[in-house]
């Protein structure tokens, strides 16, 4: 039965999608609505939230639990500490966010490279795929915090010539551990997508040309994988940020948002608005990271007629 090819149907869908601008407007409305809901909730519900039997179903509304939004912004404008040369909190947060973003980027890149290598290995050798894939899935059930100190330890033992392992590199490695997973799974799906019966004709074509696996890989499998790879890269970016922050908390690396979150715990009771700054910073880092991936996607747009989850 003839079905419209993926490529042409994609074009039809995109022509149906609404103008960007209305989405942007609605998005802003959504953010404002959440802000309004936060304050309304705070205003309307009792301090103790709503407790049903033994379980608190709705959160407390005290200023410690849910500071006013304007308090968060006001706090961000004030200095980080009372030290005379202390930068404003927003600036410190931004610097921390920049640091975390940098480490995440390294972790993302390392994870992407490793993920791609694993995917190529699994695409090339069927037994490798069967043997490795379950372990790749399994690897993500190992809690990150259990391996973070180990990675730091392994890294610290490493010293090759003038190259000295830095603590931030351990954090980047931990970030890459989370980032590699979606890449390897997504890339494998992409690399093997020409094997699907519906697309088999292209693979037959390359066989008819009498060319080897690697030529087929570069000319067919790799370009075909792009629609699968791009969402994976985006997921990997979000994962890399999560991994970086967790590892910063875990190893105590100074400079990033994770460390700020740990330290600000000490003032969570008396200065509750303070800890919302690094949370906002983390959202920014995540958005920036996925935004950077969008740039990569832009470079690959010729291969990206449709994206597949």
């Amino acid at each position: 039965m003839s079905r419209p090819s993926r490529w042409s149907s994609a074009r039809r869908w995109s022509s149906l999608s609404r103008p960007r601008r209305s989405g942007l407007l609605a998005g802003t409305a959504g953010v404002l609505a959440l802000a309004a809901a936060w304050e309304a909730y705070k205003a309307l519900l009792p301090d103790d939230g709503w407790v049903l039997g033994e379980v608190r179903v709705l959160p407390r509304t005290t200023d410690v639990a849910m500071p006013h939004l304007w308090d968060m912004f006001a706090r961000a404008a004030e200095p980080l500490t009372s030290a005379p040369d202390s930068p404003p909190l927003w600036l410190a947060t931004l610097q921390g966010a920049g640091f975390t973003l940098g480490v995440s980027a390294v972790g993302w890149a390392a994870g992407v490279v490793f993920g791609l290598l694993v995917a190529v290995l699994m695409a090339r050798f069927v037994p490798a795929r069967a043997g490795l894939l379950p372990w790749v899935v399994l690897s993500q059930t190992v809690p990150l915090i259990a391996i973070a100190p180990l990675v730091k330890r392994w890294g610290a033992q490493l010293e090759v010539g003038t190259f000295d392992w830095q603590d931030w590199m351990s954090v980047a490695v931990i970030a890459s551990y989370l980032a590699f997973f979606p890449v390897s799974v997504g890339a494998l799906r992409g690399f093997t997508s020409p094997d699907a019966a519906a697309d088999g004709v292209r693979l037959d074509l390359f066989r008819a040309y009498g060319v080897g696996w690697w030529t087929t890989f570069w000319r067919l499998r790799a370009p075909s994988s792009v629609p699968y790879l791009l969402p994976a890269l985006r997921l990997a970016a979000a994962n890399a940020v999560v991994g970086t922050v967790v590892a910063e908390v875990s190893t105590g690396l100074r400079g990033g948002l994770g460390r700020m979150i740990v330290e600000f715990g000490a003032s969570a009771s008396a200065d509750p608005a303070k800890q919302w700054s690094p949370i906002g910073g983390a959202v920014l880092v995540g958005l920036a990271a996925t935004g950077l991936v969008a740039l990569v996607a832009l470079g690959l747009r010729r291969y990206r007629v449709e994206e597949t989850a």
Binding site: A65, P127, V142, V246, G265, A268, I279, V283
Partner: protein, 256 residues
Amino acid sequence: MTGVRARVRGDWLGLGAPVVVGVAAVALWQAVVTGFGIEPFVVPAPSDIAAELGANLGVVTDAALATATNALLGLVLGTLLALAGAGISAAWRPVADAATPLVTATAVVPIVCLAPVFYTMFGTDAQTTRVVVAAIAVFVPVYLNTLRGLRTVEPVHRDLMRSYAATPWEATRHVTLPGALPFFYTGLRVASSLAVISALVAEYFGGPVDGLGKAITSAVSSSRYALAWAYVLGAVATGLVFYAVTAVIERNNHAR
């Protein structure tokens, strides 16, 4: 090229190869640790881990059950919320657009940032925060995948329902929902192991003293690394059970 022989080979590979790889990896690990006399704080030997697991099976199981309960509640709660949200978003485009930045932000914000404030909001004497954290982690993939599924209605099916003058509810019941099911399951599969990890990570930041996350730090802080890894095995097993159960539900529910 695919045929019975390939399938049989595939089945053998599907079960055998991972076991071979696993056994080989564990053997190599054991050999390296004993051969080079590696300290347990670098990496404990598999045999020691197994011994600790054997000696502490009850404690590990209790901890795993505590974490699994929160993960399961979070999985159910997050899935229900995601389904409701995706339904509303699919039915009403402006809601979907308005939710987009919030969902994106939720997808990228690390749990470690949220857990401390959630304990303050929901109380640190209850499991609520762990459930909420797991639910949030679950929400994102289930919502995104389901929404995509609800939106991917084949044009020919849409025309068909219109030609029958079907009501919106009939169209939803007969075409949209069944068509979205595979997408929903893709999201659920991702969410299942996420739920376990998230509930576990949340334990680091407060709540009643139970669960695998707490147990791992306790063991590590007194250098009992083999015991810590026995708890990690508990976490892996829990994640695997969650993943397998969702896979089985998926297979039974949409045998295609």
